[in-house]
Homo-oligomer: 160 residues x 6
């Protein structure tokens, strides 16, 4: 890993890092996070998958759409064309929560870690939005990168 | 609190809830969250406030700008005109982390909880982006609503 | 109705019409349209509502989100804060098609016809996108305003 | 053509389809549609091309700009860099209407059908917006893909 | 005028200034600027108004649309709903140039100076874009606020 | 240089020029501009770099973010993926002003002149926004392309 924050030039001023000479390679990033809630809230969400409103389906769409907006939201992030995004949502009962895992891929000169993390954040936020009328105390937590591959720095995993 | 998820109509289909008959009142929401990191990463950020790149200043701007994009990102969120947004960032040394607290305000028919939470998320993500070259294992956590006031449901605090 | 196209000034140059002196009133617009398809495509969509991918649920979300982007897309359209959007989708078997009806509302100085029509268009386009792998020949048709109320020009209906 | 809706994974959950292994080829799509109106409305538009406001010129620009926003509007659409967009508008007198034909091109891993169709939709909507003060009953119709080429599925035409 | 830069709080940190207690009044701002070019470039533009491509018509639309995006572009700018935007373009022959004057209006708690200036900038940039194939040396200059009215600070003019 | 404005087809109608057959080459553009102000305003900005609000740091971020939005703002501009953006800000005391120079780079089929110029414009506008409470008379001037390289038309400099 580099010793310095690369988003600043020699004068300490922010710039969009020059990636023009980096090789185009396949890039994959997997990120995850959770939203904790009351047991009754989780119950309402799970019912929704069957016969009422589909909270998880809508949150998944919001996450996918947000991944495409990443470079609009994160100031020094390079624009790139995602080739694949998948948002998996898994309910957990102890404690009551929804786990979110996002896989993002492209073929390009920069990684897709930010796209995967942005999708996780907006997916969880959308779950919050749709349930906040019944449970304002939900907590989003443990949002982090699980794995990345591709590029000069190669593979990285949060689990060694 | 209502008993049901209000973002769905009687047929269980998502809609943007009708707020046309709600009173326009002053709305305030305060949300918070943290990003945990290695001690050496925190050190680099804190140096940056003085003579190198200003990670926290850039993250603050990203959070404020994102709060204005909330209705673009969260599918069923009503568009509204924020009258005030403040992003406070506080370094913590044990464990090494940055705490983020956002205050959002408007005068209108819907609350600004989502605007405050979106600003927290994008502020933390921007810190991640700017430091990921040296620390990919940073974790965003404990993102939640602290307080809201205004509107029919009145005051709410996460601390009872 | 006026005799002239109001989006041009006396010199014939486009401008965003001055609505500053118009009264703020409740505005409602209802627009509709259809997408015609093969019978087997409709069948796949209807199965999706139950156990496979939810085409209609996703199209509904896309339509609601697009209604919030109307002023970004239509050059001379005034920005406004929608207070309610509802997208209703009804399958028809003869001919095989999906009907879309959108209700949009606000309280303001301009109407919401464009917001309702934009939601219809993007809802239908999203159905097209999700089914085009099996049916590229789908046709979007009969997209028009059904009804509007509010404002100086008062009520209008396509059915006299 | 595939037998299934490809925008869903094996669990029936929406994802952005993985196109990372598809070949980059030249992609062309041509889409069309019409807006029907009163004879006096058409007359006003045609006068505008000469000495008053230029409805068709503005609608053409709106369509081109919208084609660049396609991936922002259509949830599971891949972002791509268009290399060419052309919007042709042809007045018809019987019945009074404007025909719109859009050609979109890129060199990439996914097709540009959605970009061409989105441009048609927003071009027609902009004509509606600019003329609605004199003719709210205009109808958009017959919006469909005419032709596509490039990619694994090769050529397709609506006219066999 | 205040003595300090108001976009920073007492700690010198950027925030979106609280305008929640300001009165809603009618706000008008007029801004202007020019783009200087070769005489042959101006000639091509002026021909375009008659029989070839309409550079000025397209630039005017780009300026109006950009004014609606101001709060997306300028970090600490409050979102607001414009009620009127007019872009006037006047060719000058000595030196060869196009003058641009934009009037923006709203009724609200903050001024519309930034909206008027953003429209001027993007209008001029669009002229540059459309003519750069024949004249890369065009210069944009003298972009400033001419006049504003409304709000606590009242009237201001660049000409005393 | 070509003899005609290339953004129009043979009928004089605007289109997004076909660049599909152009070679992908490294593209660089450097653009610049200034904002003139009162001496006391410059002083406040320069103090800000040390202990108060960081006007220049925020303006730099706004410029970089705006460069990524260029194709959204300029109607006939091709979307492209920037690989590098750098915004340099230099205070001048006689007359009191801030000079802005932006370097933009990509590897692609079209140039990045518009991206560099858009970043200059929005950087200067953001300085205006942050200082307008104390100095509404600031003037943006001398905004032009300094240099470009890459593509069929090769190198170009404003200084011969």
């Amino acid at each position: 890993m580099p010793d310095e924050l690369t988003h600043f030039n020699a004068q300490g001023q922010a710039h969009m890092v020059d990636v023009g000479d980096k090789a185009s390679t396949k890039r994959v990033a997997i990120a995850c996070g959770s939203i904790r809630m009351q047991a009754t809230t989780l119950e309402k969400i799970l019912q929704g998958n069957h016969k009422k409103g589909d909270v998880l389906g809508i949150a998944r769409i919001a996450g996918i759409m947000a991944s495409k907006r990443t470079a609009d939201l994160i100031p020094l992030c390079h624009p790139l064309a995602l080739t694949h995004v998948d948002v998996a949502l898994t309910p957990q009962t102890d404690p009551p929560s929804i786990d979110c895992t996002v896989t993002a891929e492209t073929h390009g000169q920069t990684g897709v870690e930010m796209e995967a993390l942005t999708a996780v954040q907006i997916t969880l936020l959308t779950i919050y939005d749709m349930c906040k009328a019944v449970d304002k105390g939900m907590i989003m937590e443990n949002i982090h990168l699980l794995h990345k591959s591709g590029g000069k720095s190669g593979n990285w995993s949060s689990i060694k």
